[in-house]
Symmetry: C2
Subunit: 422 residues, 2 copies
């Protein structure tokens, strides 16, 4: 497709999505749930076709010599397809956020003013070659009353197209427009550039994937973006921490999974408790193959650790590597987090009431925690039911973004003929 | 100043603001209120200096032959200075939004998850030559725990600098950093370009002023913008409307003030009621000097109206001009608003329960009203106390933006040593 044709194609998609968004915005909860449940059934019924399509994608990816972790994310199994179907059924069970009216108050003029929760409109989601995201993201957008345009990694093209068929059958069965969920049928990379500048027809962009992709999209988009770039998460073990608790949390926050954005990347330890905490903790890390890089004070206590550089404090390893630093007090810990952190998730382990309160108040991250593992920063763990991603932006949603984050509130005014005089 | 010097200067301002933002974010309500009340007193004490500075600005503006409405907005009087001081005192009386913790719920894992309301950080406000905005905007940012950088129109330079002195004295008296409120001391236009791309140090841009300015800033900013471009507001008089009420509201929505963004620009009338509504209503408009431009159906009822063109439906007149269109039903009214409106404020006048509910639900504007004048779309009328502007964006705040719109919610997690296992 040449660029003009591509532009026309994307514009047409946008127009169709805009039209569909008005219909799904006012759709009943029952019909949205019916579409989700039917789509789940069609995913099950079509699982052989989906697996076949996935096989096609996998063959090509292996031919191209893509790496094992990439192939892993691309691979569907009977089990993961069943999970996809169940995911849609779980979204159907979540309460519908749309239409909720709150905070209605009578004003001196006589009008009653409240807020109504409403969908955002048309959401474009740009993600990597992970076919399960196609069903998840579409389900969340539909339940929250939004139309969506999905652009998955081109390596998952056939899988995504096959999943889209099941989603469309579900929409049709519920009497909802198929264009409420559009899965891009072109693998042209230029399509992303067109999508992220289609201001008239798309309200929000949600990029998911590597930092490079997200940075590029945030820079070039002329439409608001919900995103997170880095997850440089900290755990600060305060002087008054329960040692056993501190070790268990610091272990869990780093080693439960290495590749997730809510994994701890830097451990801060109060210097007065470091001699009790560091030796056993580093022994655990070493036994699990975690490389520790520490500042000179920490290395006085555990000399076999490598020396950390300035670069380490700024790095999201997403790997079995951890940077460790001793601090003299809470202020130094907060200063470090504010300077090097990514405003994602940071935790304090403490028994000091005042320090816990100060940490929660003064650390400006989307999730701040007391005496819990950073790994809890997650839509399911927070009770959102599901999440479309985690936002480290300052506007709109911060932290895990679920159904509520895909909506907003508008003002509703109930009058009785009031006119303004002042 | 050459561009490098300017860039260094703006970067330094940004760094100072970022540092100050951490201090005002954790400042007590009492100290923020003290700063506001002291600043109000200093504004009163310094009123002669402020008037003198304003006189200097006015002389120059008149020399340059700037138009009367511009001079009007630039002019300060003893009275408007007293209003400025009282505005700050009123902000001191508003409840402090920062630190509110809500929605705390226990999760199966044992952690308790809630939300805490927190400031946005550093807010840059770019506005026209209206010196009263300097005090208002600074007061709202301070009360909501944000640092701000203010860039008013260069024609108000001396006035703004003098007001800034009073604000700084207030901050100093409360023990808060003066750099929490920075008023740009350069009138260089390139400064705006630097401000709106200072991602590391500024979290949000709030442009206020003409559409051209706002469009340019929205296009060039690499920082999220809270804005509104147009106020193409509609009133739809439904078939079942109370005729007297409909006429009173349609009169008020257009003629109470012509230049405000919540003024009605297009009147939609159900064709079945048009013969009863239009003749008396157009007579009122005509008596007040409002030019009516109507579609052919409406002109059959009141032939002396001019013919409206496609362009009229898309125009925010901000003047005594009104476009009028007859519609066959609610759907046609909603379609028109969705096609030509600006998602600002739209009202229905009706006695039909179902139509009122559909209008409220289906019209995707920041304010939707039943049986009230669009002129009520305002922070004061809604009970926000004050507003920094009105947002027609889809993300973050919609409608009048008060203290709450200058904050956001982060997640707080209260644990007892929980680690994640699943």
């Amino acid at each position: 497709m040449n660029l003009d044709d591509l532009r026309n194609h994307i514009t047409l998609l946008g127009q169709q999505s805009r039209a569909a968004s008005r219909l799904v915005a006012k759709a009943s909860t029952a019909s949205k749930n019916k579409a989700l449940r039917s789509a789940a059934q069609y995913i099950r019924q079509h699982s052989e076709f989906i697996l076949e399509a996935n096989h096609k994608d996998l063959s090509k990816a292996k031919e191209q010599g893509l790496e094992a972790s990439f192939i892993d994310r691309l691979t569907l199994t009977a089990n993961s397809i069943e999970n996809m179907a169940q995911g849609l059924e779980q979204i159907a069970l979540l309460p519908d956020p749309v239409g909720e009216i709150t905070d209605v108050a009578r004003r001196p003029s006589g009008i009653e003013v409240g807020k109504m929760r409403v969908p955002l409109g048309v959401i474009a989601i740009i993600y990597e070659a992970r076919p399960n995201v196609t069903a998840d993201a579409a389900g969340l957008c539909l339940k929250s009353g939004n139309a969506c345009i999905l652009r998955g990694g081109s390596e998952a093209f056939h899988s995504n197209q096959e999943i889209a068929k099941a989603l469309h059958l579900g929409l049709r069965e519920a009497g909802l427009p198929e264009s409420a969920i559009q899965v891009l049928s072109t693998t042209d990379r230029a399509a992303v550039g067109e999508l992220i500048t289609l201001n008239h027809y798309i309200d929000v962009i949600v990029p998911r994937g590597g930092k490079g992709l997200i940075e590029r999209i945030a820079k070039e988009a002329t439409i608001p973006v919900i995103k997170h770039l880095d997850g440089i998460c900290h755990v600060f073990i305060d002087r008054s921490a329960d040692i056993k608790m501190a070790i268990a949390i610091a272990d869990n926050a780093k080693t439960q999974r290495y590749g997730t954005c809510n994994t701890m990347e830097t451990l801060l330890v109060h210097q007065d408790i470091a001699e009790q905490v560091l030796p056993p903790l580093v022994a655990i890390y070493t036994s699990k193959g975690v490389e520790c890089r520490a500042d000179s004070l920490a290395r006085k206590i555990v000399p076999q650790m490598k020396e950390a550089t300035e670069e380490d404090w700024l790095t999201e390893y997403l790997a079995p590597i951890l940077s460790i630093k001793l601090v003299a007090n809470l202020d130094e810990a907060i200063d470090h987090i504010s300077r090097y952190g990514s405003q994602h998730t940071d935790a304090i382990i403490t028994n000091d009431w005042n320090n816990a309160n100060r940490f929660i108040r003064e650390v400006d991250s989307s999730s701040v925690m007391v005496n819990a593992s950073t790994r809890f920063a997650d839509g399911f763990e927070y009770g959102l039911g599901a999440e479309i991603g985690i936002s480290t932006d300052k506007l709109h949603a911060r932290g895990p973004v679920g159904l509520e984050g895909l909506t907003n509130q508008k003002y509703v005014v109930f009058g009785h003929g009031e006119i303004r005089v002042g």
